[in-house]
Amino acid sequence: MLHSFFMLLTFMLLYFGMLGVPDLSAEESVVVYSGRAERLIKPVLDHFQQTTGTTVQLLTAGSTELVNRLRAEGAQSPADVFITNEAGALEMARHLHLLQPITLPTVATTIPTQFRAPDNSWIGLSGRIWIVVYNTNMVDPSTIHSLLDLATPPWKGKLAIPNASSEYLQAGASMVLAAKGEKTADAFLQGIRDNAGNEVYAKNRQIVDAVAKGKVAVGLVNHYYIFRHLGTDPQAPIAPLITDQDNDGIGAIMNVAGIGLTAHAKHMSAANELITFLMSSAGQEMFASINKEYPVNPSIQADPVLPPSSSFRASTIPLTRLAELREPIIQTIERLGLR
């Protein structure tokens, strides 16, 4: 009995071991590591799979988590492309030599330079701004000119912020650091830490929710979460506020979700095919409609409910600085004890 038991075990292990190995030999497949919520990226990938017949194998996890995974896997990595929700992780991957330049000629003609890596090893696909969401019953928007205002004492107990491991918080604080220097960045982080107190959230959606319910008066979020909330509950007393538009201001903090070609990609043509699709008007329009993001391809219009991208001034600090400022900003965040 024991013998047959062990035979069965061995057999099952072998059989199952094979099952787990993705069929990477097939030429018409592309392995995607994605740090974006599946809900936002899967419809686009599904559409690509249907129209081209190329199989997409998707692994969803956190952006930084995937950078770590790529790094640990090294040359053994099965990933062909790496999709993230912000440029910092992509730039970090590039610095760690985990990416290689995309050689498609359309990159230069479609994607504005500030939205891609200097060597084109990653490109932005859709943009979002990190802005203020405020409760219209509780706040007079003319009292807020800058994100830095939210770090001042009048906002104590009225502010909701993302938690310390949020890539958006890190990117936003990095931009403040790049534009205004260390002292201001420190004061900003300290201020929002004290003002937020316990109102620290893991998800943007929860921050918008807290503002809509009046639990706090203002919050810091990516713009599309506000419009998504308004989409399901048009009566919600919330509104977006784009700050830092004065001449000496930082400008609206813009970040992109993007895609990078991994250094050890094994399905080059399929990967390039996917990247081409995502840059094309079909792909760009899907980003704009599914997630109310700003398409990076300037020829594609953003969703009409959004403030048009011409109506505000975005920060001119290159996104590539996000990666080099990342470690200092994380250390600052840790030193100041943000949660």
Binding site: F16, G20, G62, T64, E65, N68, K213, I330
Partner: protein
């Protein structure tokens, strides 16, 4: 083979120690100045808090169940083990919904009291305490129930004959007498709380395991993660040794001669109603309400057509992964348990003890250690489920090993010797004599490991092959986006699929010291 298994299980810890101590050591004072005080306070207070509340809840329910005969008793007898089928992160996501600002509980409270009172936020110590208590009290209940069932009534009678009140008898005689069970269950709960990852991260309560996971996912800081893990391991080892020590001390309590155990006495109908209402409240909080919510959300997802189309594949992945891991653990654990109990040389005992170490290493850290090792040495195996199975083995074999070890100890070696004297060879003796005798204990070990693997999260998140999601992973991905309705169907499935295992496990007469469960 024993050495190989032990080496495999201790290896991740060695790797973690290596990477913690070979890096920049100035990190230690920095961690001490920033994160450590908060993490230590949080982890210790949560562990102590949960062990106190679970002891109160578990012991009182077990006491009532063993001492009173009342209508409904048969139902509660298995009703109280059902919460074990709910993974901690599922309970956490349900309670974060229930107790959230303007959530159902707050609205109900405001309606009842006609006030604008706010209830305490679930994203706090209290939230974590409630969820972890509801999730772990069945362990205490099972152990305390077994202790009360084997309890010698003469002691209580002697106390009462010499004039002690019933209250005094309970606190000064009955409770001290089941101390081994209490100590064992307290350690169990503390280990569970200290190593839990899913619940605390959904409730954003900063404990060691959560901080470790953040270190290796929010940024690439494997050294900090390793250092924190080493601290956690040191903690857990102290607990493990203390538990072993208490277990040897507990022999003192064994009585010889005739043991008269308590039989449940009938109680008045008023009392029966009171008991049933209280039990209903506990049961609803820990199992009834969460499952009803899951059913409602699943139904909503079903009718709105948002149901995942590939649920069938996730079920298959979860079931087979857990079944294979549990089976492999049994196969690997058998020689360890056998050699340690039959030929207890120092070497064999050391192998056994070594195997327990994987138990206390946080899941995410062990998983990352395995990932690094496999990509560097056996790249062709990386990205297969084998690595994942190995991670499960490292983490959960110890839990099963405890059950296997005690099953093995209950077999009288004379039987095996007789077989050998009659000419049977080693393997044949094991298969024809030992194995049939330990079958029950071994099946309990298998069920336990199966159950734990079904609910495993951090290692699966880090090591799953591409396109290979389990039910637990799906729940996690949806729940961390707060998509309650989408997370509900896989959560409900995990509960339904693990209920049979939980039920079978509860049939086993749990003794103090057996079946440490994480």
């Amino acid at each position: 083979m024993a050495l190989g298994t032990a080496a495999m299980l201790t290896f991740p810890l060695l790797y973690v120690t290596y990477s913690a101590l070979t890096g920049d050591l100035s990190l230690i004072p920095r961690l001490w100045a920033t994160r450590l005080p908060e993490l230590l306070t949080n982890t210790i207070s949560l562990a102590l808090g949960v062990s106190l509340t679970t002891l109160t809840l578990g012991v009182s329910t077990a006491w009532v169940m063993t001492r009173y005969q009342f209508w409904g008793r048969a139902f509660w007898d298995w009703g109280f083990v059902l919460p074990l089928a709910i993974p901690s992160f599922v309970l956490a996501y349900i309670y974060s919904y229930l107790l959230d600002t303007a959530g159902p509980v707050e609205q109900a409270w405001q309606w009842l009291t006609h006030s604008d009172d706010r209830i305490p936020s679930p994203y706090s110590f209290m939230g974590a305490l409630v969820v972890m208590t509801l999730n772990t009290f069945p362990y205490v209940y099972l152990l305390a129930r077994a202790a009360f069932q084997n309890f010698n009534l003469s002691f209580e009678e002697a106390a009462q004959a010499t004039g002690a009140t019933r209250r005094e008898t309970f606190f000064r005689v009955s409770l001290p007498l089941i101390r081994p069970a209490l100590v064992a269950s307290m350690f169990l709960v503390i280990l569970y709380v200290v190593s839990d990852f899913g619940a605390v991260s959904l409730l954003r309560f900063q404990t060691f395991t959560y901080a470790i996971y953040q270190q290796i996912t929010g940024r690439f800081d494997y050294q900090s993660a390793s250092l924190l893990s080493l601290l956690l391991v040191a903690f857990a080892l102290i607990f493990l040794f203390a538990e072993r020590w208490f277990r040897t001390q507990s022999r003192f309590y064994q009585t010889s001669g005739r043991v008269r155990t308590a039989t449940p006495k009938p109680c008045s109908w008023m009392k029966a109603i009171g008991i049933n209402l209280t039990f209903l409240f506990i049961f609803s909080a820990a199992f009834g309400l969460p499952v009803l919510l899951l059913i409602q959300w699943t139904f909503a997802a079903w009718t709105s057509g948002e149901m995942e189309s590939s649920l069938g594949r996730y079920i298959w992945n979860s079931l087979f992964l857990s079944a294979i891991a549990a089976t492999a653990a049994l196969a690997l654990g058998t020689p360890l348990a056998y050699l340690a109990s039959r030929i207890p040389t120092r070497f064999h005992l050391a192998c056994l003890q070594g195997a327990y170490i994987g138990y206390v290493l946080p899941g995410p850290v062990a998983a990352l250690a395995l990932l690094m090792v496999f990509t560097n040495t056996l790249p062709f195996l990386y990205g297969t489920v084998l690595v994942l199975i190995l991670a499960y083995l490292v983490h959960y074999l110890p839990a099963g090993l405890q059950a296997m070890e005690s099953a093995m100890q209950e077999v009288n070696p004379n039987l095996e010797e007789a077989a050998r004297n009659l000419g049977a060879k080693g393997i044949r003796t094991f298969m024809q004599i030992t194995f049939p005798l330990v079958r029950k204990g071994f099946s309990a070990a298998w069920l336990l490991m199966f159950l734990l693997c079904m609910k495993e999260l951090p290692a699966t998140l880090l090591l799953r092959p591409i396109g290979f999601d389990t039910l637990a992973v799906r729940i996690w991905l949806e729940a961390s986006e707060e998509l309650y309705q989408l997370a509900a169907p896989p959560a409900l499935l995990i509960v339904l699929l693990t209920i049979p295992a939980v039920f079978l496990l509860s049939k086993k007469n749990w003794q103090a010291g057996e079946g440490s469960v994480q």
